[in-house]
Every structure is written in structure tokens, then in C-alpha cells.
């Protein structure tokens, strides 16, 4: 790995990722061990520890982002390294709030937190070299677009946690882990409410992005790969909601639809700008 960032953001980032990793281990042990006997209990102490570790991770990653911001002179907007670090921070913030405010659904952390591991492991493979800040990124709409996008992806992640529970409950052993959570019909309803809220933020994100694109590149929509992928994800959310309104869908299928939408959003967010040779890539 490049020596760049060793004296600044990297120690903070590693500490933040370690806190998230510990939170994952505590969450899994709390859910699996305490509910292994089939009794539906919620581990108050382990849940508090998970929340504390999540908050610690958020604070440490915030310090890493701030250190890098000072070092390179701009925020985490450009390189995949920056986007992943920023995403891990914002997902951590919003998921910590959800974890705190939805105590009956905390067991779903065993599905959500491994996603942090995936992102964190990916982040560790990337070089923290400084990135160039394009002129069109001074636009204020970028802040709004990015903020809305972060809320949107975090809401999808919360939905994924609930979706994962509905799928895992098809397996008797795993079903015992989630005995402390409400029944599938409630989990399903809450999951889709979260997805609908995600649709609100997704729509606002697309609008803010279109305004930014119009100001910065002279077109609000041009069907480049990132825009197309974002639109397909928005449509997939709409399709998912309409499928649920039209048909009686088994919880595990409902969960699979939610996970499919998240995969699309994840690919759009963290894949498309870096694999496509289209306009958006030039802009990052």
C-alpha cells in the first residue's frame, strides 16, 4: 500500500473498521448464542455494546475523513477509496440511529453488519492516494445529492436486514435466532415501509442529481451508464412496491426482492462510476 495517508487518516480508519468488526462479532454472538436454545430473548447488554461500538466506529471514521479532508483539501467525493470510507461512515450513522430507535428489530444487525465487513474489506484493498477535485464539483447541489443518496442507501440497508431475517427464518436453526423479533408479516410491513421511505429519498436524490447535472454538464439526464443504472434501480423499487400491492407475496420472496433492489443500488453507487467509460466516469 502507498505510504500516503499513513500519518493522517489511515490509523483512524483502521480503528473505525475494527470497531465495526467488533460490533458485528458482538451482534452475531448476542443473537446466535443467546437464542440458540430457542428462547426468544433480547440481549440488552450485548445490544448496548453493539450500539456503543457502532458509535465508536462512526466517530473514528469521521476523524479519518476529517484528517483526509485537511490533507488533500477536499471532501470524500471522488475516488472509490473516499466514497467507500464516506459510505461506511454515513451507513454507520443512520444504521446506529435505526438500531437505537427500533429495539425489536435489532437482531437484524447480524444481516446488516456483515455488509459493513464487505465494504470495509474492499476499502482496505484500495490505495488512499489524493484525488483531483473537478471544477463542476463546487456546485452546492452536489451536497444535497450526496446527502440524499446516503440516506437512501442506508434505508435500503435497513430493509436488507429485515429482508435477510425473513429469508433466514426459512431455516429452522436460523429461525430460532430471530425469535425475539416480531412475526414475518410485521417484519415484511416494516421492511416495505422502509423501502418506501427509501423511494422518497431516491426520488429526491435523482432530482438533486438532475439539477446538478444541468448546472454542471448542460443536461439533466443523458442516459449514461450511471444514470441508467440509477433509473433502473428507482424503477425496481417501484416494481417491488407494486408487486407487493398486486400479489400475495411470501415473506422470503419479499425479502429476496428487497435484497435484489439493494444489489442494484449498491452496484449503481459503488460500481458504475468506476467501470463505465461514459460521461459520469470522466466527472469523477
Amino acid at each position: 500500500m502507498n505510504a500516503e495517508g499513513f500519518a493522517t487518516e489511515l490509523p483512524w480508519m483502521w480503528s473505525g473498521l475494527a470497531a465495526y468488526a467488533l460490533a458485528t462479532l458482538v451482534a452475531i454472538s448476542g443473537v446466535v448464542i443467546q437464542n440458540a436454545g430457542g428462547t426468544s430473548t433480547r440481549g440488552g447488554r450485548s445490544e448496548r455494546l453493539v450500539l456503543a461500538l457502532l458509535i465508536a466506529g462512526v466517530v473514528l471514521l469521521a476523524a479519518a475523513i476529517a484528517q483526509r479532508w485537511v490533507r488533500i483539501g477536499h471532501g470524500p467525493w471522488i475516488s472509490l477509496f473516499e466514497l467507500l470510507m464516506s459510505q461506511l461512515w454515513s451507513l454507520g450513522v443512520i444504521y446506529a440511529v435505526a438500531y437505537w430507535r427500533m429495539p425489536r428489530f435489532r437482531a437484524s444487525a447480524v444481516v446488516v453488519l456483515p455488509v459493513f465487513w464487505v465494504l470495509g474489506s474492499w476499502l482496505l484493498t484500495l490505495e488512499p492516494k489524493a484525488s483531483h477535485f473537478p471544477a463542476t464539483y463546487y456546485n452546492e447541489w452536489k451536497w444535497i445529492h450526496v446527502f440524499l443518496g446516503k440516506v437512501y442507501l442506508a434505508l435500503l440497508l435497513i430493509g436488507v436486514g429485515l429482508a435477510g431475517v425473513m429469508i433466514l427464518r426459512r431455516f429452522p436453526r436460523a429461525a430460532r435466532w430471530f425469535g425475539s423479533m416480531p412475526a414475518d408479516d410485521v417484519v415484511d410491513r416494516v421492511a416495505w415501509r422502509v423501502m418506501m421511505l427509501a423511494l422518497v429519498f431516491d426520488s429526491l436524490m435523482l432530482i438533486a442529481g438532475a439539477v446538478w447535472a444541468q448546472d454542471a454538464w448542460g443536461r439533466y439526464w443523458s442516459w449514461d451508464s450511471l444514470e441508467t443504472s440509477a433509473f433502473v434501480t428507482w424503477l425496481a423499487l417501484g416494481v417491488g412496491i407494486h408487486v407487493r400491492l398486486t400479489y400475495r407475496v411470501a415473506p422470503w420472496i419479499s425479502g429476496a426482492i428487497i435484497i435484489g433492489i439493494f444489489v442494484l443500488a449498491f452496484t449503481t453507487y459503488l460500481g458504475m462510476p468506476y467501470v463505465s467509460p461514459a460521461a459520469h466516469k470522466g466527472m469523477v
Binding site: Y138, R169, V186, R189, F231
Partner: protein, 346 residues
């Protein structure tokens, strides 16, 4: 009417959405070999479906939030269609000191119903500067434009990147495409002198081939090559500014080759050519769509409608399921299995 209710079917909505997903995927990366009908057909189907649903589906028209959202979606489709019929998308290259005229537009794409007032657009291009960071990364562009008012006075304005020049609804964006031009005067042996300019290729993109050619009336072609010194460097930040740049103009005509400094002349077949000064040109993207503002407002209102509906469904609480789960828990004895109710509000 039965057919109207069929048209409003949620299943048809799903078909339309899936067709739109397929259509959008086919246009992936803006492929030019894919017909626009892959988007137009599903959008038209969805517009019909939405219209019918707004009138007949009580779940939509009896819930104000959902009604606003769906009318908003329909309006977006209509506005986008109007936009495609009336838009204009073009490029232009305009030199320092030159006034804008519609005939400068290049690569123009426009809708069949475009009816803007491009002929009313007036501005004169001034100087420009472009910041470059180490490694030749382009930074901020500052381009001066002079805009005349009704009294004939000019107002100076700096535009560039996302600071857009908007005149008569036309939006002018600076682009990466900009470069130098040389101002020349042709003094023919017979006739009156003519002053004009020759634009050279985009700079610094084509810094290695700053050449062009011109054919004087009644003579053979003359080739030009500009040896320009802008202070450009890759290992440090620098500013592209024609006012601080110097250029030697190499003129080739047949076997004759001569280097001219600003103000110098050379004798060519049929007259004399004088190199008056080094100037610059800026490339703009021009965009016009009268629906832009409406699209923004309608989109926002649609999302407000969706948010309003969500607020009602959620009982104005962020996570009301926390309050409701007790009741549901009592109804559901098993933690697994069970089907979601089709048609329930999400």
C-alpha cells in the same frame, strides 16, 4: 367503463415498468444504435395506465398524497415529451471579441417544435482563464462575456463550469474545448485589406499540433503552425490565459516558410499577410428546454405527495411499527411463514 378499468390495472403498471426497465437497459451507456421507441412505448403505456388509474383507482384518487404523486409522475412524462419536442442542444466556438450569432452553432440537435428566440441572444466573448492543477487536471474556468442592455451599454459577467450564462432561455456552458486563434490581415495587391481570424485546435488537448490552413482568394493554400508559449507544465499548477501567452506563427506557402512575430508581415502570392495578434476562442455547449423549471417543480411536488402519503401511512412517526407490533404479534402465533396481504399499504 370496463376497458378503462382494465387500462388502470396494476398488472399493466408492472408490465409497463418492466418494459421500461428493459428499454432503459437497452439504451445503456447511451447507445446510438438503439431506437428511442424502446423508451417511448413503455412510457406511453405507463402514461395511459396512470391516467386511467388516477380516474378509476380509489386507492389513488381517495388518498391525496398518492393522487398528487401519480399526477406528478404523469406530468413529468408529459413535460419530458414536450421538452424533447422543443429542445435544442448544440455547440459553438466563439473568439475573443466576437459577437454571438445563431449561425455559429455547430452539431445542432433540436426538437421539431423548437421555437426559441435564439436570434434575440446577444453577447460578446471576452477573455478567459482556466486553472490547471498539477498533473494537467483542469480546474475552474472563468470566461468573461459582455452582455448589451437596451441602451447599448455592456455588462461584464464571468461564467464557467456550473456558472451558466442564461439568455432568452438558452443556457451557455463553457466546455473543455477552447484554444487559440490568430488574427491576420490580408493585404491583397488589388482590392481592400481584410482582417479575420483562424482558430487553432483545442488547447492544451492538441498542444502538439496547433496548425490550420487558409486559402486567400485567387491563391494557393497557406499553412499555419503556432509555436505557443503559455507557461504550461505538468508538474505544477498553472493558468491558461491568452493575455499572458506568446506565439510565433510559422507560415508555409509552397516552398516558402517564414516565422512571424506579432505585427510582422510576409509576402505571399497575390498579396501580403500580416500577423496582428494572438487571441483565443472558447467552446460552449448550448442547451434550451422550456420545460426545465416546470420539470423541477413538478418533480418536487410529486415527491412531496409521496412523502405526505408516507407520513399518513406511518402515522407521523418514523418507526410506528414499534407501536403496532404488539397487536400484530398477538395475531401471529408463528414467527415464520404467512403471506403478506396483497393490496395493503406499504
Amino acid at each position: 367503463m370496463k376497458w378503462f378499468r382494465l387500462l388502470a390495472s396494476l398488472k399493466l403498471t408492472l408490465v409497463g415498468m418492466i418494459l421500461l426497465v428493459i428499454g432503459a437497459s437497452l439504451t445503456y451507456d447511451n447507445r446510438l444504435d438503439v431506437t428511442m421507441w424502446v423508451l417511448v412505448v413503455p412510457l406511453a403505456l405507463l402514461a395511459l395506465n396512470l391516467t386511467a388509474a388516477i380516474f378509476t383507482n380509489q386507492r389513488i384518487n381517495r388518498q391525496p398524497g398518492l393522487l398528487v404523486f401519480h399526477i406528478g409522475l404523469l406530468s413529468i412524462i408529459v413535460l419530458a415529451a414536450i421538452g424533447r419536442l422543443s429542445f435544442i442542444d448544440a455547440h459553438l466556438e466563439i473568439a475573443e471579441g466576437q459577437g454571438f450569432t445563431p449561425d455559429l452553432l455547430l452539431e445542432t440537435k433540436q426538437g421539431p417544435l423548437h421555437a426559441g428566440r435564439l436570434d434575440k441572444v446577444r453577447f460578446v466573448q471576452g477573455y478567459y482563464t482556466v486553472d490547471y492543477a498539477e498533473g494537467m487536471h483542469r480546474g475552474l474556468t472563468n470566461s468573461q462575456v459582455l452582455i448589451p442592455d437596451e441602451r447599448g451599454q455592456f455588462t461584464s459577467k464571468i461564467v464557467g463550469d456550473d456558472r451558466v450564462l442564461v439568455l432568452e432561455g438558452y443556457r451557455f456552458y463553457t466546455t473543455f474545448n477552447k484554444g487559440f486563434s490568430v488574427v491576420l490581415t490580408w493585404l491583397p495587391d488589388q482590392g481592400i485589406p481584410v482582417t479575420g481570424r483562424i482558430n487553432l485546435p483545442s488547447y492544451p488537448l492538441y498542444d502538439y499540433k496547433q496548425d490550420n490552413s487558409w486559402t486567400p482568394q485567387g491563391a494557393s493554400p497557406v499553412k499555419f503552425w503556432l509555436q505557443v508559449n503559455t507557461g504550461m507544465r505538468e508538474d505544477a499548477a498553472w493558468v491558461l490565459d491568452a493575455r499572458n501567452s506568446r506565439g510565433v506563427l510559422v507560415v508555409s506557402h509552397g516552398d516558402q516558410r517564414v516565422e512571424l512575430q506579432v505585427g510582422e508581415s510576409t509576402r505571399l502570392e497575390g498579396g501580403q499577410l500580416r500577423y496582428d495578434r494572438l487571441s483565443a476562442w472558447m467552446g460552449y455547449k448550448v442547451y434550451y428546454d422550456p420545460t426545465l423549471r416546470w420539470l423541477f417543480f413538478v418533480s418536487i411536488i410529486a415527491v412531496i405527495g409521496m412523502g405526505w402519503h408516507y407520513w399518513q401511512v406511518m402515522g407521523a412517526r418514523l418507526f410506528p411499527a414499534e407501536a403496532q407490533h404488539q397487536r400484530s404479534d398477538e395475531k401471529s402465533s408463528a414467527p415464520t411463514g404467512g403471506l403478506a396481504n396483497a393490496g395493503e399499504d406499504v
